[in-house]
């Protein structure tokens, strides 16, 4: 309760100072819009539905791209964790690929797929794939042997052993990778959308720039931030809470 109060106080202070500086007119409104301007832009965008449409498009893309990367990443991580040959060959390569900012995949994607939806999905996928892969591999490697032994003794084999024992046992480890993957995917998406015309939130940002409409730019930035926060809280907050509830005290690495 006190924490919420402090946070509220902080935001009031932040917006208040912003309003104050804007009203001093040191910079013209097209460089520094007032909170009111931004709020207006936000309201306009929401009422004429451009923001909603863009949000819908971006969310659909991230759901697809991120969903795919989670599926692929977990499978790849499992292969790396269980196959020594793959680990020794592909493992190091995956690590070095991860140091590549995901937007670097955009030129490649455009050459392969053209300026298409697929190209954007590819960039989003590559944004989070490696983080998920690496955390899955680490997660599985850190599963105490006793869970596997117990699972096998109780009759779990092959895919069921993976699904019912290995995966849930590595979840505390995996969550941090999923979360990181999500953050990477979200960034890649917005950057990708900014670079080529494709509707979506990133595109809306660039449109604001082209129209010299700073209020819209800031409004969209706030929207992107808010969406990121909401997903983080709703999806991962719940997941972490559930793990903590079940396992007792767990540190997420």
């Amino acid at each position: 309760m006190r924490k919420a109060f402090r946070q509220l106080a902080f935001y009031i202070f932040l917006i208040g100072s912003w309003q104050l500086i804007a009203s001093l007119r040191i910079w013209p409104p097209y460089l520094l819009p007032s909170p009111g301007n931004v709020l207006g832009a936000l309201r306009d965008g929401l009422t004429d539905q451009t923001f909603l449409v863009a949000t819908g498009i971006s969310m659909r893309r991230i759901a697809l791209g991120y969903g795919l990367s989670v599926l692929l990443g977990i499978s790849l991580g499992l292969l790396l964790a269980t196959n020594r040959f793959l680990e020794e060959s592909l493992g190091g390569f995956v690590l070095s690929l991860q140091s590549l900012p995901s937007i670097c995949w955009l030129p490649l994607a455009v050459l392969w797929f053209g300026l298409t939806e697929t190209a954007i999905l590819f960039v989003v996928l590559m944004g989070s794939l490696l983080a998920v892969t690496i955390s899955t591999e680490m997660g599985i490697r850190h599963v105490p042997r006793i869970y596997l032994q117990a699972g096998r003794n109780l009759g779990a084999r092959g895919p069921r052993l993976f699904w019912h024992v290995l995966l849930p046992a590595s979840l505390p480890h995996l969550v941090s990778g999923l979360k990181q993957g999500w953050a990477f995917a979200w960034r890649s998406l917005i950057s990708g959308e900014m670079i080529f015309v494709s509707l979506g939130l990133g595109h809306l940002l660039m449109m604001g720039r082209d129209l010299n409409d700073m209020s819209q730019v800031v409004a969209v930035m706030i929207l992107i931030m808010a969406l990121g926060q909401v997903v983080d809280h709703v999806l991962f907050g719940r997941l972490e809470h559930s793990i903590r509830h079940k396992w007792g005290i767990v540190s997420f690495r």
Binding site: Q149, A150, R152, R160, H164, V165, P168, A169, W247
Partner: protein, 295 residues
């Protein structure tokens, strides 16, 4: 102390010494015994040599027998149980289950691990259901059976708790229920009560004995505590230290339910302990030498 066969055919008197080594390949044994270990050895090789954990184990376990294996820590008890559960293969020798060479891993041989291995992501009831679920048993039946066995170990009230919310003795009972719910052919128990306080252990001894009398499962119980072995077992066998060999066996013919404080039981335990003392000293010495080396 009178000698008797490895199968425990002639129980003469309160207690009898049973030689362990015998010709196992005589066929009737294969048919009569639940489990037969024939010249079973297991060694581990590493960069600094080979460690023989178990050497030439010959043993026959009767159906419905409550067999206790006692040995100092590090003598290969867990290794033996892993072999019997089919989670590991002997380096040499054969294990027969119901007259057939054992599959790996073996379905009807359920092991309660020393570390339990309860799943923290599942509730108590889901833990008990786990094995049934792997057998493809439907949700409703699974739930009913899990509830029956949770009632048996007096944990009904905690069916929806998670593992970290339970005390040590309660966890132990979940592991018991999880194993019994599968209605195993052979129940293998690895020092299950070692980490518990005396009162809880007494209680669980009573519960285990009661359940065994009710179900008459074959139980293979491993412990380093001689009194516990005498308290529970029909037969107590000593496992020697490095290499692990079966040393001698005793039939315990005391009436059940037994009590840990019963003078007759204490006397028997003391005699068994005399036999074991040399082995325990050897274990302590080895432990001590290892510490010296690492300094």
């Amino acid at each position: 102390m009178a000698k008797s066969s490895i199968l425990g055919g002639g129980k003469n008197g309160g207690r009898a010494e049973a030689p362990i080594m015998s010709e196992v390949s005589e066929t009737p044994w294969l048919r009569e015994s639940k489990l037969i270990l024939e010249n079973v050895s297991r060694s581990y090789s590493s960069s600094n040599g080979t460690l023989t954990a178990l050497e030439n184990i010959n043993l026959a376990v009767k159906e419905g027998e409550f067999l206790c294996i006692v040995g100092p820590s590090g003598c290969g008890k867990s290794t033996l149980l892993n072999l019997m559960a089919g989670l590991d293969r002997p380096t040499s020798g054969t294990i027969w289950a119901d007259g057939h060479p054992m599959e790996v891993p073996h379905k009807g041989h359920i092991l309660i691990f020393q570390e339990l291995g309860l799943f923290p992501w599942l509730t108590v009831r889901e833990n008990v259901e786990f094995g049934l679920r792997m057998q493809g048993i439907g949700e409703k039946e699974r739930r009913n059976r899990a509830r029956d066995y949770l009632r048996m170990v007096h944990l009904s009230r905690f069916e929806n708790s998670y593992i970290h919310q339970l005390s040590g003795g309660m966890k132990q009972r979940v592991a018991l229920a999880r194993a019994f719910a599968l209605e195993p052919d052979v129940l293998l128990m690895d020092e299950p009560f070692a980490a518990l306080d005396a009162q809880t252990r007494d209680l669980l001894h009573e519960e285990l004995e009661r359940i065994w009398i009710e179900t008459h499962k074959t139980i293979f119980f491993v412990t380093h505590n001689v009194r516990e072995a005498v308290r529970l077992g029909d037969r107590v066998i000593l496992l020697t230290f490095r290499p692990g060999r079966l040393k001698s066996g005793f039939f315990v013919d005391l009436p059940r339910p037994r009590h840990l404080e019963d003078p007759a039981l204490i006397k028997t335990a003391r005699e068994v302990l005399e036999q074991l003392r040399g082995e325990i000293n050897k274990a302590v010495e080895a432990e001590y030498n290892r510490d010296e080396e690492s300094i």
